[in-house]
Symmetry: C3
Subunit: 208 residues, 3 copies
């Protein structure tokens, strides 16, 4: 049951990040192969980094084809002309959809990553779980941006990595107090809400 929720979160994150990655590829005028690659790397990248950090080799995404295959199928669907036309008309272009998908993927992978530290390591400290969660959450997006030739989002946008860290903190605190499933859902909610609020209200942080 608990395993199932983790798998569900992984798949939600995979689909969301595949969409976000494919949209970046579309905005960059890549061909369908580049778009599928970028969607897949965005979706599985954070988990691969997480597994390397935890010493879990080969990484899950290399053992179970379901993640990469799902991401590629999703990216190809996003590429379909009719889907693109729909997106352009219904969301002020792609950017609104990108932002929501990116927030969902960030939240899902953050919590899955923090949970993996607890389930994989014999006695992780809370810092390790938070750090692993944040790296899992932001890793796919950082790879996406670097590979697309952009300065990663986490360095230019307000509060992005901060939302991931705070969600990981929330999950790590709550999992000792309430059922793990509920702690996971609340952890994701913290990330998604903070990341979207920060973008919507353009929360700014001091600059030089």
């Amino acid at each position: 049951m608990e395993i199932d929720l983790i798998f569900l979160f992984e798949m939600v994150g995979t689909v969301a990040f595949a969409i976000a990655g494919a949209l970046v590829g579309i905005m960059k005028k890549m061909d369908i192969f580049g778009i599928a690659m970028l969607g897949m790397i965005t979706a599985v990248g954070g988990g691969v980094i997480r597994d390397l950090v935890l010493g879990r080799t080969p990484p899950v995404a290399f053992v179970h084809p379901v993640y990469a295959a799902t991401a590629i199928v999703v990216a190809i669907i996003v590429f379909l002309p009719s889907v693109r036309t729909f997106a352009e008309h219904h969301q002020k272009g792609y950017y609104g959809i990108f932002r929501i998908m990116d927030a969902i993927g960030l939240g899902a992978f953050t919590v899955v990553g923090a949970e993996a530290a607890y389930s994989w390591l014999p006695a992780p400290n809370v810092f390790l779980a938070i750090f692993t969660g944040a790296v899992t959450g932001v890793g796919g997006g950082v790879l996406r941006d670097v590979l697309a030739g952009e300065v990663p989002y986490i360095f230019v946008k307000h509060f992005y990595a901060c939302a991931s860290i705070l969600g990981a903190v929330a999950y790590c605190i709550l999992r000792g107090l309430i059922a793990n499933e509920l702690a996971m859902i609340l952890g994701v909610a913290v990330v998604v809400v903070l990341r979207l609020l920060a973008a919507h209200y353009r929360w700014t942080l001091p600059r030089p």
Copy 2:
């Protein structure tokens, strides 16, 4: 004997990717040290990623200096003025040589990477072997392009990662049917032929 063929393929890939990496460094006007570094990283990068993914640490390229040393020597030879002059006159500049070397390296490392999954892991599934092969094949070139400040080839050029994946698929199918050595040679051939045909005939894939 079989081990020897793998080593041969690794050295062919190392030399080819060192040349490809050095040529990118020359086109970017780097100094000889940058060129040697870029040649070496292109040559050993895919193998290092493969070993990290397979949990084979320290990676082979860190244990056996032959790969890095060969790549550095090759990159320095490519840098020599007389060699550069020759290249400029005989191949319409560097680009033709770059493409062939890149194709050979892509093919050799794809097959070596897929083979490593079978020889290193107790019971790999075929997806894992294909994925490991493709990551080994494209990894060096992706590092090269990111470090040189370019959007990686796999996202902008037709069919590049696809050639690697199809070559890995060919090798994984053939290795159960024919001698491993022959399967390896045919796997490399599939990658090289597809990648060069795609470049020559400018096979295009749909774009947004």
Copy 3:
């Protein structure tokens, strides 16, 4: 006692690279969060790569929060307006400070990385120790530059990776001849002196 010196070098490298990373973030007009992230990644990146290469998972920086926490605090201090004003007035802008901090971090992490190969692996060859040292030394700076959207320093500036390699060579030779502590200090000195001399006298290497 020996462990303490290693920890001291790690902390010196962490502080120096956190300052160097934060200064790059300031020059890139990032907000305080991006600057803290970039400072932290610069500081812990080389060590994380070292640990992945050595198969030491989870990496030390994920297990002990002291490195990341120190780097973040240092980066925030660098960001403070009064500190920035001081830096601008006393060092011909940031660049002089950046260069010195980068040299110290490069030296400290190079030696710590080479030492880690000896202390972690049962029987490392000297090439492995040198290579691990150089990767640990330059890794944080390469991540910093790639994430900030720059071509990494090691490819454009004279002698940068070379200084790291020569420092690692010096340490590996000396550690068999003199006390390890002294070998470490001399190894760092070789890197710092070479890197600063190369920058000061603009030592140039051949270019195409």
